[in-house]
């Protein structure tokens, strides 16, 4: 197995307030790592540091076979970002562009593909998430679940080595949560390397190869879902799981 992501000594502070207090994490190719933890534990900030949406204050992030970036090295962080896709809580589709235009924009503008290739890629990916018939539609004409599936496709069109999800189902109606989770499950089974921040404990249990429990800006405990959910070693983990399950 080759390593896709290697994080060492990652720290992030906003002014005096330290949010991430030194985190190490390795993610192997094809692995699905699910990060759980209470609100304010720093898990969102952590995942945002992985593609330098937040510039880390210290430590380094390395995408294997790609770039290594130390905190403060802006150029390297930007390079790193090209290899990492991200799906946000609130979809963030560009509202004035059709579904197809949303997906084709980055690959075409960054010279990864010509228009015809990008279009074929986009349509094939839309087909896989069951939204090919919406290709010409606009985001406002789609349900939240459909928008989030398009957002996943938009990230995939850049052929990322690693896909990050920051609470991808938190803004969705309960009945559309599953259509998004099913797409994520399918991606996982196809071998996509993923880091997912979520409150969906069912997803963590069924899909994760490894669960990371985050609290107070640190990784408290990490292990396979069976272990974390049935025999957590740390009292803080037990306490958290008791409150959400």
């Amino acid at each position: 197995m080759s390593r896709v992501l290697q994080v060492r000594g990652l720290r992030k502070h906003f002014g005096e307030h330290e949010v991430i207090k030194g985190v190490d994490l390795d993610v192997e190719a094809g692995e699905v790592v699910v990060i759980i933890g209470p609100s304010g534990s720093g898990k969102s900030t952590f995942i945002r540091c992985l593609n330098s949406l937040e510039a880390p204050s210290a430590g380094d992030v390395q995408v294997h076979g790609g770039s290594a970036a130390h905190a403060g090295d802006r150029k390297a962080l930007a390079k790193l970002r090209e290899e990492v896709g991200m799906v946000f809580q609130d979809y963030t589709l560009f509202p004035h562009m059709s579904v197809l235009a949303n997906i084709m924009l980055a690959p075409v503008k960054l010279g990864r593909m010509n228009k015809a290739q990008a279009r074929d890629t986009a349509l094939a990916l839309l087909e896989r998430v069951g939204l090919r018939h919406k290709a010409e539609g606009y985001p406002a004409q789609l349900s939240g679940g459909q928008q989030q599936r398009v957002a996943i496709v938009r990230a995939l069109a850049m052929k990322p080595k690693l896909l990050l999800f920051d609470e991808p189902t938190s803004a969705l109606d309960p009945e559309t949560v599953n259509e998004v989770l099913n797409v994520m499950k399918a991606l996982a089974s196809e071998g996509m390397t993923m880091v997912v921040v979520t409150h969906e404990m069912g997803f963590a249990r069924d899909v994760a190869d490894r669960v990371v429990f985050f609290d107070g800006g640190r990784i408290v405990e990490t292990g396979p879902p069976a272990q974390i959910f049935s025999q957590p070693a740390e009292a803080r983990t037990r306490q958290f799981l008791a409150s959400v399950l």
Partner: protein, 220 residues
């Protein structure tokens, strides 16, 4: 009441020439003012060092001095420093600079409504800052700003009548010129009021169509 329609019909060629001049000068200035608005609004929204404050100063100077003074400054003042422009281009410059200041604020306001999430999404896709500005922020802002931009464009069109003060043969100049010889003030001013109203209506119609077009993606 003495309202001579036949007189107006006889003056139509002169009025039409004035109308065309008003249209030419206004449309050019609307174009340039939008260009100023986009560049200046972008510079302000992105807080570009030095340029940002310079644009802010320009906006304040234009908005807080009379347009007639600005016009005289350009037409009578600039030649003293070797910048001599024709009547026509003095008019275009004056109206462009005047409306440009308001368009800067319109564009800036529109850009301020674009959600931060759009920026993050573009950033996460590795799109470059200029991709974000030109392809995402500006089009989204444009839809929000369009009504304010239209208002500014309409004001520009109406303010083109100030250009009669430097002798540019636009609509108001033609009317005033004819009244000086024929004393038909009621007819002439009625006629040009109707013509200005028609021009504004056309502008509003065009902007309305554009707004409907821009609105299409946002309809469920």
């Amino acid at each position: 009441m003495d309202f001579d329609v036949n007189y107006l019909l006889a003056q139509w060629p002169a009025l039409f020439a004035g109308l065309l001049m008003t249209l030419r000068v206004s449309l050019l200035a609307i174009g340039f003012s939008l260009l100023i608005g986009v560049l200046g609004g972008g510079v302000r929204a992105l807080r570009v060092p030095l340029l940002g404050p310079a644009v802010a100063l320009y906006v304040e100077v234009i908005r807080n001095t009379p347009i007639l003074v600005q016009l005289f400054f350009i037409f009578y003042g600039l030649p003293a420093i070797g910048l001599e422009l024709s009547l026509f281009w003095s008019g275009v410059l004056c109206l462009s600079l005047w409306a440009g200041a308001y368009q800067v604020e319109n564009v800036r306001g529109g850009l301020a409504t674009v959600e931060w999430g759009m920026h993050e999404a573009a950033f996460a896709l590795s799109l470059r800052p200029w991709h974000y500005f030109c392809l995402i922020a500006l089009p989204i802002a444009f839809r929000t700003s369009l009504p304010a931009m239209l208002n500014t464009a309409i004001s520009l069109l109406k303010n083109s009548s100030y250009l009669q003060a430097i002798g540019l043969a636009e609509l108001t100049f033609v009317a005033v010129d004819r009244i000086a010889t024929d004393f038909r003030a009621l007819e002439m001013f009625s006629a040009i009021c109707v013509l200005y109203l028609a021009l504004v209506a056309l502008l509003a119609l065009a902007a309305g169509r554009l707004a409907a077009h821009l609105q299409r993606p946002f309809r469920p």
